[in-house]
């Protein structure tokens, strides 16, 4: 007789356990099929998502979940980018997709059912879903799934991004930006996306800032003719975006074609490149198709920048450090060795690009100093304390110091 209550309890536990498992398993999206339609606005994306369910109502719910899942995981540039983020989201996935939770990210669900297919299990439907990507990102950051931008930038600040059109050799990009209406529209769309996502945007207004840098850079192999690179470096942006804009005439209307590239300023490393197209549209101004094409491209490029920034932020603030050895020294390499030693004590990571008798070029990352000036002063101080450096009768002279660039010359001491 005593066995009967025990059997009942075990059965109940088993039942509850099975039920719980079953309920939990129902929350996650089943279809997970979706395709990107367009970047609807700086904060929203339109997705065509399939949903699976026992009936249309349930399939539509699944389509909404699949659209969100696509933005989070499956898109070309998903919100969840690192394995930690993905793992963290996996743990809270069932809770995230519970009723009453995920719906807040759906801005719009199309009334039309784009496609409907009956299956053995039920029905599949395809719907147009618009997801508030920005809110999704923000909320997941608050929940600790995503690294929040504030968290990422706590030490190093928001990335500064410069936007500049691509130009032919000898052409002035700033002039082009000011005179070409289509180029200006392209820049405005990019800036609109950047500001909506709280990036600091820099638009160079004049070319004379380049002069000093150009002469210094002339001795450095590489990007002598890349004006955008030089401008970005000179105004201290973390990343710079270059773009080109083209209007193609069709038999019925016109379409916009844009190219958009993002570079890490200090190294001119390409972070992301995308080409955006608008459909051919009749009776619309050029600006309309440029905006549409740019929307298509910039969202993806910004995702790459974001991913880069997250990764790079862990190493601290990045600088380009150029030592122009103008003095006369018996052994210039003693100077460069001393610099290398000193930088080793001040940075989280350093990378020497060039070391010649005249120039030493570094990329450094540091977390210790909150401004470039402080960094420079500390560098100066430590070099003075360095016996090899001071023994060679060398001293630092500030030429140009900004957020990304420390350009100094090394002269003979008095």
């Amino acid at each position: 007789m005593k066995k009967i209550p025990l059997i009942i309890i075990i059965s109940l536990i088993t039942f509850i356990s099975c039920s719980t498992t079953s309920i939990v398993a129902q929350n996650a999206p089943k279809s997970m099929q979706a395709t990107f339609v367009e970047s609807y606005s700086p904060t929203e994306v339109s997705i065509r998502a399939w949903g699976i369910g026992s009936d249309v109502d349930n399939a539509e719910i699944d389509a909404k979940k699949s659209a969100i899942y696509f933005v989070l995981v499956s898109a070309t540039d998903p919100l969840l980018q690192t394995s930690e983020e993905k793992s963290s989201f996996e743990q809270m996935k069932e809770q995230f997709f519970a009723k009453g939770s995920y719906e807040q990210y759906i801005i719009f669900l199309g009334a039309d059912i784009l496609n409907r297919v009956k299956t053995k299990e039920g029905v599949k439907v395809e719907k147009l879903v618009r997801v508030n990507k920005e809110k999704l990102s923000k909320d997941l950051a608050e929940k600790g799934v995503l690294k929040s931008r504030e968290e990422v930038t706590a030490n190093i600040g928001n990335p500064m991004i410069m936007v500049l059109p691509e130009v032919a050799k000898g052409e002035n990009p700033i002039e082009k930006l000011q005179k070409d209406a289509n180029v200006k529209i392209g820049a405005e769309v990019i800036e609109s996306y950047l500001t909506a996502r709280k990036y600091d945007v820099q638009v160079p207004e004049q070319m004379n800032v380049l002069n000093e840098l150009t002469s210094a850079q002339n001795q450095v192999a590489g990007n002598e003719e890349d004006i955008a690179y030089q401008l970005a470096l000179s105004i201290g942006s973390d990343v710079y975006i270059t773009f080109n804009v083209k209007i193609e005439k069709g038999s019925i209307g016109k379409k916009g074609v844009v190219g958009c590239r993002a570079y890490e300023t200090t190294t001119a490393k390409l972070l992301g490149t995308e080409t955006g197209y608008s459909p051919e549209r009749p009776s619309v101004p050029d600006a309309a198709v440029i905006e549409e094409a740019m929307n298509d491209a910039i969202d993806k490029v910004l995702s790459r920048i974001s991913a880069y920034w997250k990764e790079d932020a862990s190493r601290g603030q990045q600088y380009k450090l150029i030592f122009n050895i103008t003095g006369t020294f018996d052994d210039a390499y003693v100077i460069s060795d001393a610099i290398d030693d000193v930088l080793g004590t001040m940075t989280t990571q350093k990378k020497q690009n060039i070391a010649t008798e005249k120039t030493v070029d570094y990329i450094i990352w540091q977390k210790e100093f909150e401004s470039t000036s402080k960094l420079f002063r500390e560098l100066d101080k430590r070099l003075k304390e360095n016996t090899d450096f001071s023994g060679a009768n060398a001293k630092l002279k500030r030429v140009n110091v900004n957020r990304k660039l420390i350009l100094v010359s090394i002269e003979n001491g008095e």
Binding site: V37, E38, Y40, S41, S46, R48, D55, V56, F108, G110, A111, D112, I113, L114, N115, R116, V117, K118, T119, K120, V123, K124, V125, L128, R130, G250, S251, I252, G253, K255, P279, E280, R281, P282, S283, V284, P285, A287, A288, E291, E292
Partner: protein
């Protein structure tokens, strides 16, 4: 070698200038408007009948120019040029096509392109509209593809008459409409024949030359009426065939389901009409992952949404076949003529006394008739006497074998042929029909084997009734009630009469009837039905008798005034009837059983 019987009439240029062109679709679920252009010419493969050209144009315009299309004007010059150049060719399809490309197509292209953007807006999807909303600079959200669809969705048609005959009372027309699609690629435009559209149709009409028939705005004589009805019937059949061309079929999406009703995005803009039938389609994935479209049900328009005014208005459809419909399923037009034919064997009760089926010869009739006259004189002049003539009654005639029937008939068997014209579009009452019911039957009684005239056929009962019928549907089943007024004719006929022999006798009685029935929809076009009814008929009010080689004698007055004939008054068609049969929704009908009523809507 030019076919001399073929002819392109030059009259369309003046008479038939409307054109309708359209654009093509986006999703399968939403009908994409087409534009159609009437070339304005009629192609006669027989001797051209110029007198009906304007009639053909008028009727085709009425029946083919429907709201699902957009229309473009074609200049008189273009049509004239087409006719002139066309008549200089051998009139073969390829020659016609070539001339079209030279003369008409450039105008169509110009007309369509001028309005293509505006028309394409009507085809924008919800997705496109949503996208356009965020960026006002995109304008309407139109893309070049949308405009291209419009530019490649222009159709034009040319009526082809293969046969036309008419006389004083009758007219017949046969032919089809040749449809062409205009396609544009770059700066080149051409036409291609739409093969599925070429269906031969027929129309017949008749009328009594002396009689006057009412049209919408005037009356015509029977000869003209016959022509008008023939062409109108032909055009109606062509319109149904046109609606069944896959490019022209209306389609929509089920937006919501509420009990036995579904709502869809079709409406007045597409010209949806009450009670029009639609198949419900569903895409289904098989075991191999292939998607196939299945027909899963049938619905009819119950109330029409005015989506011309409000794009979000929906129309309600009632479910007839199928269940478990869901949002997202698509529906597709199943165009039919709107006339069902019903064939129903029936059993009915009646009263046909044996003595109402006499077979007498002219001599006997005259003798009896004389007696009647004598009796009448005696009635008014009691002193008058005359020799008695035998037989005094029909019973005395031929020793009691002067009747066809051996016994009185109290029941009969027969067959009903009904034409049910759906008048929901006219009355705004769904499933309301106007029935024309013609029936024939024979009394259920033994024929006297010793009857005087062995070759005489059994008595035959005819009837013709007209009245409304309303159906109340519950899924595949309906309960229907119908009322009608009409006449019954009891007829005796001797098919082998010799001079002076009895040849024919008819008794006509008016009546009203009330029927009720149950129907089961076997498929969207075929219905099984069982019916019961009661008919209340008066005694015969018209009676005629005819002897071979003699004039027809009206004996109506004798039915109630004389004992010799008063037996005929006992003929009574009142009684109940039970019928079982099938109905078929006609895709075409070469004649119009409701011609005199439908003519009221003909504005010609």
């Amino acid at each position: 070698m030019k076919n001399k019987n073929s002819f392109l009439t030059p009259y369309f240029t003046i008479l038939f200038l409307f054109s309708f062109l359209t654009y093509s679709s986006f999703s399968q679920k939403k009908y994409e408007r087409k534009s159609v252009t009437a070339i304005g010419a009629v192609f006669f493969k027989t001797e051209p009948a110029l007198e009906i050209v304007s009639l053909i144009n008028n009727r085709l315009k009425y029946h083919l120019e429907v709201p699902r299309f957009d229309y473009n004007e074609l200049s008189k010059d273009a049509t004239r040029e087409f006719v002139e150049k066309g008549n200089r060719t051998d009139l073969s399809p390829s020659s016609i096509q070539k001339v079209l490309e030279e003369t008409i197509v450039p105008q169509i292209v110009q007309a369509v392109n001028a309005v293509s953007e505006e028309r394409a807006k009507g085809n924008l999807t919800e997705e496109q509209l949503a996208s356009a909303a965020v960026d006002k600079m995109k304008g309407s959200g139109l893309t070049a593809d949308d405009v291209l669809k419009v530019m490649n969705s222009a159709y034009l048609y040319l009526p082809v008459v293969t046969e036309w005959t008419s006389d004083e009372k009758n007219a017949t027309i046969k032919g089809y409409v040749a449809w062409y699609r205009v396609t544009q690629k770059g700066n080149t435009a051409k036409v291609e024949r739409v093969n599925e559209a070429t269906q031969m149709q027929e129309g017949n009409g008749n009328g009594e030359p002396e009689q006057s028939y009412r049209l919408k705005s005037r009356s015509v004589n029977g000869t003209e009426f016959a022509k008008i009805i023939a062409v109108n019937t032909w055009a109606k059949n062509l319109a149904v065939a046109m609606k069944n061309i896959s490019a022209f079929k209306l389609g929509g999406e089920i937006k919501s389901v509420e009990g036995k009703f579904v709502e869809t995005n079709l409406g007045t803009k597409e010209g949806l009409g009450m009670d029009e039938g639609y198949d419900v389609l569903e895409e289904e994935e098989d075991d191999n992952g292939k998607v196939k479209t299945k027909n899963v049900g049938f619905i009819r328009a119950f109330s029409i949404g005015n989506n011309t005014q409000n794009i979000n208005e929906v129309s309600r459809f009632q479910t007839y076949i199928g269940s478990g419909f869901e949002r997202g399923m698509s529906i597709q037009e199943r165009a039919r003529l709107g006339i069902d034919i019903s064939i129903r064997p029936k059993y009915f009760t009646c009263n046909i006394p044996r003595y109402a089926t006499p077979i007498i010869d002219y001599t006997t009739f005259n003798a009896i008739y004389t007696n009647i006259i004598i009796n009448n004189i005696q009635y008014y002049f009691p002193g008058f006497t005359a020799a008695e003539i035998t037989p005094q009654t029909f019973d005395d005639y031929h020793g009691g074998h002067g009747f066809i029937l051996k016994d009185d008939a109290t029941s009969a068997i027969g067959i009903d042929i009904n034409f049910n014209w759906n008048i929901a579009k006219l009355t705004k009452v769904p499933q309301l029909f106007l029935n024309v019911d013609v029936a024939v039957g024979v009394p259920n009684a033994e024929v006297d084997g010793d009857a005087f005239v062995q070759s005489a056929a059994s008595p035959v009962l005819y009837s013709g009734y007209l009245g409304p019928m309303k159906k109340f549907w519950f899924g595949r089943m309906n309960f229907n009630v119908a009322g009608a007024i009409g006449v019954d004719v009891f007829s005796l006929e001797n098919s082998d009469a010799q001079t002076g022999d009895f040849e024919k006798m008819d008794f006509t009685a008016p009546g009203i009837k009330l029927d009720a029935g149950i129907e089961y929809l076997i498929n969207p076009d075929l219905t099984f039905n069982i019916g019961v009814g009661y008919k209340a008929a008066l005694s015969p009010i018209v009676a005629e008798v005819k002897f071979k080689d003699e004039k027809t004698i009206d004996i109506s007055d004798l039915l109630s005034s004389n004992t010799f004939f008063s037996g005929f008054n006992d003929v009574n068609m009142s009684g109940v009837n039970i019928s079982v049969g099938i109905s078929y929704a006609l895709p075409s009908l070469p004649f119009d059983p409701f011609a005199q009523i439908s003519a009221w809507d003909i504005d010609y």
